[in-house]
Assembly symmetry: C2
Homo-oligomer: 335 residues x 2
């Protein structure tokens, strides 16, 4: 079933069929109707592959994240998909498992599939192979929570400000020994979180104990083991910040196992709001932002960029965050 069949059925040429489905103005009304009737009768749909071949556009966007199961990325994907779908784009998604070399391969894969653009949140900003693959692919790219040495648009949230306010809030409750468990040292998001933490200490004229910083991984398991280690110290933290939305689970597993009373013995704040934070007992104070909006903004930028309707200078969008006060934080115990 091709445009040729439709043309024959409607008694016109394939060119006219093409003009009709592409809403070309120069088609007589009655001819147009004849073609539409034939399309209906035959149930023809244009072959998108052939169309892509001719137009050099697939209306397809490649998405690369470490893991689509992470609600952080699932929400971003959902927001992006909605905006893209409204504009006739389809999303190809892939999980890299946080493997940088796989990410480079995926960039090449999407390039060979002739995606029109890319949404990328890669594992390691310092891996030159990623930037190189991106440059070689020549694909318009929106980075999510990342910074790379290429000309690319980017979207993210203000992790630095959010973390600074979280620490300041804990200061206001009298906490001084605030542990930060997080990862992503080689990503903008990770660096900003640590930066915000240090900013708060510096502005308050305080110095954090170095062993309060646990910066090696964003995994739940890491949060679990580091929480145990922190709480086992002779000078242990009075508050823990879980800087990554998978980590609260690990912190809670550890505190439940060790029978630590929240917030009496320990205050907890997490970065990234989840149902777990809301419904845990006690509920957990969180740094929250609109994840769908991150995806939506990324999509909007890419759509506009592909339409040529924004200047070549890279665009940066920051989605605001806020602290949701719940019941996991209390005044630090004296003595």
């Amino acid at each position: 079933m091709t445009a040729h069949d439709v043309a024959k059925a409607a008694g016109v040429s394939t060119g006219t069929v093409s003009r009709v489905i592409n809403a070309h103005p120069a088609v007589a009304k009655d001819v147009r109707q004849k073609v539409l009737d034939a399309i209906d009768a035959l149930g023809w749909q244009p072959n998108a592959v052939a169309r892509s071949m001719r137009t050099a556009s697939t209306r397809t966007i490649g998405c690369i994240f470490s893991d689509v199961r992470n609600p952080l990325y699932a929400n971003i994907i959902q927001g992006a998909e909605q905006a893209f779908a409204e504009n006739g784009y389809t999303l190809m998604v892939s999980s890299s498992g946080g493997d940088s070399s796989r990410e480079a391969k995926l960039i090449q894969l999407f390039a060979s599939r002739r995606a029109d653009g890319l949404i990328l949140s890669n594992a390691d900003e310092d891996d030159a192979a990623i930037a190189a693959a991106l440059r070689a692919s020549n694909l318009p790219t929106v980075l999510v929570e990342r910074d790379l040495p290429i000309e690319a648009d980017s979207v993210g949230t203000d992790h630095r400000g959010g973390m600074r306010r979280a620490v300041e809030y804990l200061f206001s409750l009298g906490h001084e020994r605030i542990a930060l468990i997080t990862g992503g040292r080689r990503t903008r998001a990770g660096r900003e979180r640590v930066g915000g933490y240090l900013d708060a200490y510096e502005q308050a004229g305080k110095t954090p104990l170095p062993d309060m910083l646990r910066l090696e991984s964003l995994s739940s398991d890491y949060a679990f083991s580091e929480t145990q280690a922190l709480l086992g110290m002779t000078v242990s933290p009075t508050a823990i910040i879980a800087g990554g939305n998978l980590m609260l689970a690990g912190v809670l597993r550890a505190t439940q196992m060790m029978n630590v009373k929240i917030p009496d013995d320990l205050s907890i704040v997490c970065s990234g709001d989840t149902e777990l934070a809301e419904l845990a007992t006690p509920s957990v104070t969180a740094i929250r932002w609109d994840l769908s909006a991150v995806g939506r903004e990324a999509a909007k930028i890419l759509i506009n960029r592909l339409a040529g309707s924004i200047p070549s200078k890279p665009v940066r969008i920051e989605v605001a965050n806020e602290i949701v006060l719940r019941k996991s934080c209390a005044l630090v115990r004296r003595g």
Copy 2:
């Protein structure tokens, strides 16, 4: 940059270039090397669109779920993606928002994009437009947790058995008034859950009170309002089963708000294990199964079907489930 450029650089014809990248045996070793060198030097990658045009295969699979943010689907997608990626397939994902007419459009979209196959978990099995679109598309399809009047492979878990065992477990604790809050009446999964519940009652020679069944929606909000309604009844349930993995949050919101003591005042079981079930206080007994395996099995079936290595008769795979006993269930209070 095309195969032509590579051919010129290597001093061969495009046919030879094609044979090299497709591992055709009839290529001399030295010629092969020359071509590989040229490919390397030029950094050429075959255009997948042109290749698809010629081979009538895109090595692309369309995925249609109600919402990729639902961990149920996110996990399935992840499992499927892994198996597909290993076989050179790329996933196109889309969320329908549970809108049947959008699902039909998505089926057509993926058909026009010439996906090689489909993974589908649609909202309403009774909507004839879905089956019609599927038949018209002629795409090999694997249904996930669904049954449709078409010849299609399917994957799912044993909801009937899982639910039956959950009810039997509650019987063993002395519960008689067990409420079931769930939805998906027009899906296999939903019907099986209700079937399992009724099976258990029948086998025990008991009859459930009709108002213990709340079967209108799988949403968290529905679970919230129905839990409130159930607990407000004069003859209220002593146990609630949340039959859908988004629903536990709604049940917990309601019980927390109403200050209901779990498990003293009420026992809870949920279908679909989550971090929330594990880490809530008390932890919640759950019907659990391997979600990635569901996606992986769906992918395997499709891969084999596309390779022509399975018989035309539809394949059905059932992933086993089990009940994880936690602390949300107790002996029913007498008096």
